[in-house]
C-alpha cells in the first residue's frame, strides 16, 4: 500500500502528530480511487481540486487539534446526500445534472468535524435496491469478488470502504441499505435510531424509514462518525432532542452481563448454512466475554418484508411525485403540454425498479385498495414494532444475521423482484421499529466472501450496540480483501 493508515482513528492521529499531512492522506485516497474505481464503479463525482484545496487549508492550521474530531479524514458520501456544488444524482438519470445549492446537514457536520468529502458514491437509483445494480450509471462491484454485488443500496459506499479507497463513507438505510452492503463487503455499517440523524438534504425515499449512517472498517470509527453527524436539527422536524453521547468513551471491551436475545427460529429456513453457523459462533464469542445469550421469539417477523415493501413504496410514490421536470431534474424535450411533459420526463428519467415501486406504491394508496393494503400494512407495522420493543424490554440486544446469504453474483436476482426483496429479510424489522442496528463482519465463507452479524438495540441506545460490537471486534479484528481476494486481517 502507500503507507497511509487504514482507519479514521489512525489517520487522525497521524495528522495530529504530524506523521502525515491532510494533503498526503487525501492524495493517497485519490490515487486509490483512480487506480481501482474504473473496475469497481463505487464512486461517481470526485472533485480532486476541491479535495486538495480543503486538505491544504487543514495543513495550514497552526494548531491541528482545532480541526475537529475527524481532522484530515477522507470521507465518501452516498450520492443521495446533497453536496453544495457537487453533482448529486441519487443514481438516477432524473438527477443526472443536478448540482445542489446546499449541503445535507450530515455532510455539513462532517466537514465541521474536520472531515474532507472526497466524492460521491454510486448506489441503487433513489436508494431502491439491495444490490447496487439499479443505478443509471452502471453497477457497483464487490471488492472481494468482482463478479458479485456489493449489496445495496449503499453499495458504492461499502465497496469504497472495503477496497480501502476511503476509511469512512456515509450511506442511507431505509430497509437495510447500510447494513446489508456492509455485511456483503466485510465492513461495519450502522443504522442509527430513527430521529438520531437529520435527513435535511437527503433525497427522500420513504420518510418514516430513511436514516443516514456510517460505513467504516472499525466499530470505533463508526462511533466517532455517528457522533459527528447526530443530533437535533431545526431543518428536520423528525430529529430527536436526545443527547448525543461520546460512544467511543464507552468502548472498553466489557460485555459482562449484557443480555443478548437470539431468535434462532428465524434461521430455520431461507438462510445459508454458513451464515447461520457464523452467527452462532459469534454468539459463542460474545458469551465467552461474559454476555448472556438466550433464545427469544420475535412476533410477526415473517411479515416484515411484505409490510416494508407496502409502506416504503407508498411513501416513495408520494416522495417521488416531485420529479416532474419543472424546477429541476430531467425534462423530456419537445413535450406538447404540461401533462405530456410530466409523463415524458418521469418515464425517461426513472429506471425500471423505481417505476416498479412507484406503481406498487400508487396502487396501495389508490381508492379501493388503500384499506386492504396500506392500512393493513400500517397495522402490521405497529405489531412488528411492538414485537421488537417487547423483546428489547427483556434483553439488551437482539442478534441476527445481517443478510441470509453472502454476496450473490451480479445479475442473479435483478429479474426477480421478490427474490431481491428477500435479501432484506433480517434488516427491515429494525427499520420498521425505528431501533438502532449495526452490522459487523463475523466470518468468511469457504468461498472467501465476508458475512455479517447484526446487533439491534433499544431506541437511542446505540451505546450498548457499539459496546458489544467493539467487544466482538477485539476478538476477531477487522478484515480487508486483498487484490487476490484472500482475507487480510487488520488490527482492531
Amino acid at each position: 500500500m502507500d503507507g497511509i493508515p487504514e482507519t479514521a482513528a489512525a489517520l487522525r492521529a497521524a495528522f495530529l502528530d504530524g506523521a502525515a499531512t491532510a494533503t498526503a492522506i487525501c492524495g493517497a485516497a485519490l490515487a486509490r480511487i483512480a487506480a481501482q474505481n474504473p473496475e469497481l464503479g463505487a464512486m461517481l463525482a470526485v472533485d480532486e481540486a476541491a479535495v486538495l484545496r480543503r486538505a491544504a487549508a487543514l495543513d495550514r492550521l497552526e494548531d491541528r487539534r482545532l480541526a475537529g474530531p475527524l481532522a484530515g479524514v477522507p470521507v465518501a458520501v452516498k450520492d443521495n446526500l446533497c453536496t453544495a456544488g457537487l453533482t448529486t444524482t441519487a443514481g438516477s438519470r432524473a438527477l443526472a445534472d443536478f448540482v445542489p445549492p446546499y449541503s445535507a446537514t450530515a455532510v455539513e457536520r462532517l466537514e465541521h468535524a474536520g472531515a474532507i468529502i472526497v466524492g460521491k458514491t454510486n448506489c441503487d437509483e433513489f436508494a431502491m435496491g439491495s444490490s447496487s445494480e439499479h443505478s443509471a450509471f452502471g453497477p457497483v462491484r464487490n471488492p472481494w469478488d468482482h463478479t458479485r454485488v456489493p449489496g445495496g443500496s449503499s453499495g458504492g459506499s461499502a465497496s469504497a470502504v472495503a477496497a480501502g479507497l476511503v476509511p469512512v463513507a456515509l450511506g442511507s438505510d431505509t430497509g437495510g441499505s447500510v447494513r446489508q452492503p456492509a455485511a456483503l463487503c466485510g465492513c461495519v455499517g450502522v443504522r442509527p435510531t430513527y430521529g438520531r440523524v437529520s435527513r435535511h438534504g437527503l433525497v427522500a425515499f420513504a420518510s418514516s424509514l430513511d436514516q443516514i449512517g456510517p460505513l467504516t472498517m472499525t466499530v470505533r470509527d463508526a462511533a466517532a462518525v455517528l457522533r459527528a453527524i447526530a443530533g437535533q436539527d431545526a431543518l428536520d422536524a423528525t430529529t430527536a432532542a436526545a443527547a448525543v453521547p461520546d460512544w467511543e468513551a464507552g468502548l472498553d471491551g466489557d460485555v459482562r452481563g449484557c443480555r443478548i436475545g437470539f431468535p434462532a427460529h428465524l434461521l430455520e429456513r431461507g438462510v445459508d448454512a454458513e451464515v447461520a453457523g457464523a452467527v452462532k459462533s459469534a454468539m459463542a464469542v460474545l458469551a465467552s466475554r461474559g454476555a448472556v445469550v438466550r433464545e427469544i421469539k420475535l412476533a410477526h417477523a415473517d411479515l416484515a418484508v411484505p409490510v416494508y415493501y407496502l409502506v416504503a413504496t407508498a411513501e416513495a410514490s408520494s416522495n417521488l411525485a416531485r420529479y416532474d421536470g419543472v424546477r429541476y431534474g430531467h425534462r423530456q424535450a419537445g413535450a406538447d403540454g404540461l401533462r405530456e411533459m410530466y409523463e415524458g420526463s418521469r418515464s425517461e428519467g426513472f429506471g425500471a425498479e423505481v417505476k416498479r415501486r412507484i406503481i406498487l406504491g400508487t396502487f396501495v394508496l389508490s381508492a379501493g385498495y388503500y384499506d386492504a393494503y396500506y392500512v393493513k400494512a400500517q397495522q402490521a407495522r405497529a405489531q412488528i414494532a411492538a414485537g421488537y420493543l417487547s423483546a428489547l424490554a427483556e434483553v439488551d440486544l437482539i442478534a441476527l444475521p445481517t443478510s441470509p446469504t453472502a454476496a450473490f453474483p451480479l445479475g442473479e436476482r435483478v429479474r426477480d423482484p421478490v427474490a431481491m426483496y428477500l435479501s432484506d429479510v433480517f434488516t427491515v424489522g429494525a427499520s420498521l421499529a425505528g431501533v438502532p442496528a449495526l452490522s459487523i463482519p463475523c466470518g468468511v465463507t469457504d468461498g472467501g466472501l465476508p458475512l455479517g452479524l447484526q446487533l439491534i438495540g433499544r431506541r437511542f441506545d446505540e451505546a450498548t450496540v457499539f459496546r458489544a460490537a467493539d467487544a466482538y471486534e477485539r476478538d476477531t479484528g477487522f478484515c480487508l480483501p486483498t487484490s487476490s481476494g484472500a482475507r487480510r486481517r487488520g488490527g482492531a
Partner: protein, 99 residues
C-alpha cells in the same frame, strides 16, 4: 378487497403515477406486480387488532424554529437547476397550459 393476480390495473395505476409505459413495460410490470401482490398477500390475509399507526416513526418532540427571516436561496440559485428558465424574469418556463 385485495386485487386478484390476473387483474392488476396497470394502465390505470400508471396514469395515476404519471408514468407512460410501453406495451412491453406494461406486460412486464403487470406480471411482476401480480407476483409481488401474491407475496404481500400474507399481510392482507392477516388479522390485526389495534391502530393503524407506526409510533416508532414519530419523533419524541416536534421541534419548532423561530418565525424569523433567515438567509435563503437566491432566485438565481433556485433557478440554476431548472431545465428551462427565464433568469431575467426569475421564472421557470413550462409548456403552454392554457390555450
Amino acid at each position: 378487497m385485495p386485487a386478484e393476480r390476473e387483474d392488476f390495473p396497470i394502465a390505470r395505476v400508471a396514469t395515476l403515477a404519471r408514468l407512460r409505459l410501453s406495451p412491453a413495460e406494461q406486460a412486464l410490470y403487470q406480471a411482476q406486480l401480480a407476483q409481488i401482490l401474491a407475496f404481500v398477500g400474507q399481510v392482507t390475509a392477516a388479522s390485526f387488532d389495534g391502530p393503524a399507526c407506526a409510533r416508532a416513526a414519530e419523533p419524541d418532540s416536534v421541534i419548532e424554529r423561530p418565525d424569523a427571516v433567515r438567509p435563503s436561496l437566491t432566485a438565481d440559485a433556485a433557478l440554476a437547476n431548472a431545465p428551462d428558465a427565464s433568469g431575467a424574469m426569475g421564472l421557470v418556463r413550462v409548456p403552454k397550459v392554457i390555450g
